[in-house]
Amino acid sequence: MLDKLKIPDHHYLHDGHSLRSWLLTKDHKRIAIMYLMSISVMFFIGGLFAVGIRFELATPQGDFVTADTYNKFFTMHGVIMVFFFLIPSIPAVLGNFLIPPMIGAKDLAFPRINLLSLYIYWIGGIFTLYAMISGGVDTGWTFYTPYSATGSNTNVVPTAIGIFIAGFSSILTGLNFIVTIHRMRAPGMTWFRLPLFVWAHYATSLVQVLGTPVIAITIVMLAVERGLGFGIFDPARGGDPVLFQHLFWFYSHPAVYIMILPALGVMSELISTFSRKTVFGYSFVAFSSLAIAVFGFIVWAHHMFVAGISTYAAMVFSFLSFSVAIPSAVKMFNWTATLYKGAISFETPMLYAYGFMGLFAIGGLTGLFLATLGLDVHMHDTYFVVAHFHYIMVGGAIMSYMGGLHFWWPKMTGRMYSEFFSRVSAIMVFVGFNITFFPQFVVGYLGMPRRYHSYPDEMQVLNVMSSAGATVLGLGYVLPVIYFLWSLKYGQVAGPNPWGASGLEWQTQSPPLTENFLKVPIVDREPYDYEHLVAKEKHLV
């Protein structure tokens, strides 16, 4: 049957070939592709800074680059990875591409705003890259005052403005998704027939819309303080530097759920598809996304337990911090239960999904260590924290993103990549990742502080392990670039539904038409209905 497949004549990639037809497109799928290219570039820039960090930390003395350069490395690594890679990653690429076909819509509610958000992202990115080339920043991605306001003499304001601008891109994406999910669903597509991917993106959008404005205003306050000499956080005028931290984390904690919620959404799709089984406890998984989004807003001060907040406030925020763990746990257990009595197979996306399960569990559970007051006093600002968030953000979010990319790649391009190399890369990433970041838990509990350019000799062995692992990890990330590009031309034609998946997006050709569907679909059954799929397949044969 495979040899009969061919790429359809009409699809969104063929709807105009000029640069103009891309830059002025209103098609969510083309915008998604442009996002994919942009964030990939950003990922590799951020990754190069990580290489710099790990190279420096291979020896304890701090002899590869100067302390100032090192400080700029991790700051720019963090800024790029967080604001220009991970926050836009799944929503702006996979969400943009898939939400309309998943709900049976022709496009997002506001196609022009969608394009605008891409341009805004570019402007913000260029701004930030410019700030980095012309001197860099060294405040850490957290921009704590008073160092950022008065101490540092690097490009703090330009970088912050770059983030400010990119924030609007994130807000507009979220706004677009919310309205689209509410208003653009195909006939019959009720809320409880939505794929869990869409639920997760709905929750993400809430966070984007409600949180991002606060970081924007915080950046404005920082900019007027630094640029115009206003005193808002300035301790010399009786201002409170800790106020900045409150405002910063009011956004930046929820922002971690902007990064992880879409990844959780991808996971539900992957687990269901590759076990050919409906997701166990659909409504619990759906509502846990919303719960995570809402609870995410009430825990922020767990980043400030030793920053001078009152003992009472520390207790309240520690208590609340555990509230996010419960819906996360619910998700983990439901996915596990989904596998029970499934028909499981291990194509590359599923390998990533399995990797995710392990790494996210470790990352999330170490979050509990940090949320526990007595322990965080010791662990705060050590490599334990660094390991925690890399386990979630790299081990969790990126694993899931890669899984999703491999899963929907045939839908996006119409072609398959090399199964062999993709498995090799998935395994390299998993192994390399653990070698890189597991030792950091150990060295962190040992007391190694983060943002350290040099460190005590006795910690070298663990750091060398970490640096070695990063090499494997880095190569694991380069490989997909090669076979993905290769597949564009030489890949096997995939056909509309190579995985036998159940979602609406698989019921149209690959790559899809510009309008996604020939006719507006009418939905008359639950999601993840594999019985029906099989019955139909049999009927056809």
Binding site: Y144, G342, H378, Y530
Partner: protein, 337 residues
């Protein structure tokens, strides 16, 4: 603890270390249990239910309410245990005992300055006796820093314009790391030092050694003269300013009728922003010393004033009072003890 000569677990050198590590192992065990439970089931299901033929699909199982409840409630209960345990350790970490020995620390780009009441001053080094609770009061001269003693399992940020404090009771003599853990600019990773825990007897010897220019309070007394404080604050109470004898630990009545408890934060405020609180019966004529006394000299002055109240048990400084903090109503009631 070491494996093949590589340290993988920090020394336990304080009384907290055991408490914190016990908590650590508890959460570790819980986490390991859940992580393994998930990993094992996932792998087992992957093998047991591996897809065997084309077109095979999984069983139709929609969900199970009691299971959902079970696995929401159990983590909730466990999480509450973690919270409670963690909070009680934390509470302990934040409550220095009254008899604690007192040391001042000032963070500054990029060094730690420690001052003993007996007058010794150290930079990036700290000597303390074993078996004795030690309270460190911390401030910063420029940006945020954070004073971290990994072997004691405690740290706290140094915040410009405020006092924060931590305490510990070192147990095992030896030398341990001091780190600055709040990013503070170029040489953040160079802002490190060593804390040396000595046997109490050795500590006494150490105290005697070295050319010390008098105790901290004595240095403060000299400053008290040099800065002309003494011209107004006569012990007799006849000067332009009130007598500072025996005021620490007492309450003072202010001009607007409210009462203030005299503690370190109040003294600090009185010196830096003298007219924030005007003592009843006096004119607001004391000049502001903001910018004229360094953090180090400030603690010396405060120590001198405290030495004028020999039988006061020093009240803990109210954590985090900004230097210009103004409170017009009730006395700055320290966090409820």
């Amino acid at each position: 603890m070491k494996i093949f000569g590589i340290p993988i677990f920090p020394e336990q050198a304080s009384t907290f270390a055991k408490d914190v590590d016990a908590l650590y192992f508890f959460i570790f065990a819980v986490s390991a249990f859940f992580a393994l439970a998930v990993a094992v089931s996932v792998i087992y299901f992957g093998i047991r239910y591996h897809k065997t033929h084309d077109g095979e699909i999984g069983a139709r199982i929609e969900g199970n309410l009691s299971l959902e409840l079970l696995w929401s409630v159990i983590p909730t209960v466990i999480a509450m245990v973690m919270f409670g345990w963690g909070a009680s350790v934390f509470y302990h970490l934040r409550r220095p005992p009254a008899e604690a020995m007192h040391i001042y620390a000032v963070g500054k780009q990029w060094m730690w300055k420690f001052q003993h009441l007996e007058g010794q001053r150290e930079i990036n080094e700290l000597h303390i006796p074993a078996g004795q609770p030690v309270k460190v009061t911390i401030s910063s001269e420029d940006v945020l820093h954070s004073l971290f003693f990994p072997a004691f399992r405690t740290k706290i940020d140094a915040i410009p314009g405020r006092y924060t404090e931590l305490w510990f009771e070192a147990q095992t003599p030896g030398s341990y790391h001091i780190f600055c853990t709040e990013y503070c600019g170029t040489n953040h990773s160079g802002m490190i030092g060593t804390v040396t825990v000595l046997e109490p007897a050795q500590y006494q010897v150490w105290l005697q050694g070295g050319g010390v220019e008098g105790t901290l309070a004595q240095r403060g007394a000299k400053l008290f003269n040099d800065l002309t404080c003494s011209t107004c604050h006569l012990d007799s109470g006849q000067g332009r300013g009130p007598s500072l004898k025996n005021i620490v630990g007492k309450t003072v009545e202010l001009q607007n009728g409210s009462l203030v408890m005299v503690d370190e934060a109040y003294l600090r405020e009185s010196i830096l922003n003298s007219q924030a609180k005007i003592v009843k019966g006096f004119q607001p004529m004391m000049p502001t010393f903001q910018g004229l006394v360094s953090e180090e000299n400030l603690v010396a002055l405060i120590e001198h004033v405290k030495s004028l109240s020999p039988d006061a048990t020093t009240a803990a400084p109210a954590t985090g009072a900004p230097s210009a903090a103004v409170s017009t109503q009730k006395p700055a009631a320290a966090e409820k003890k």
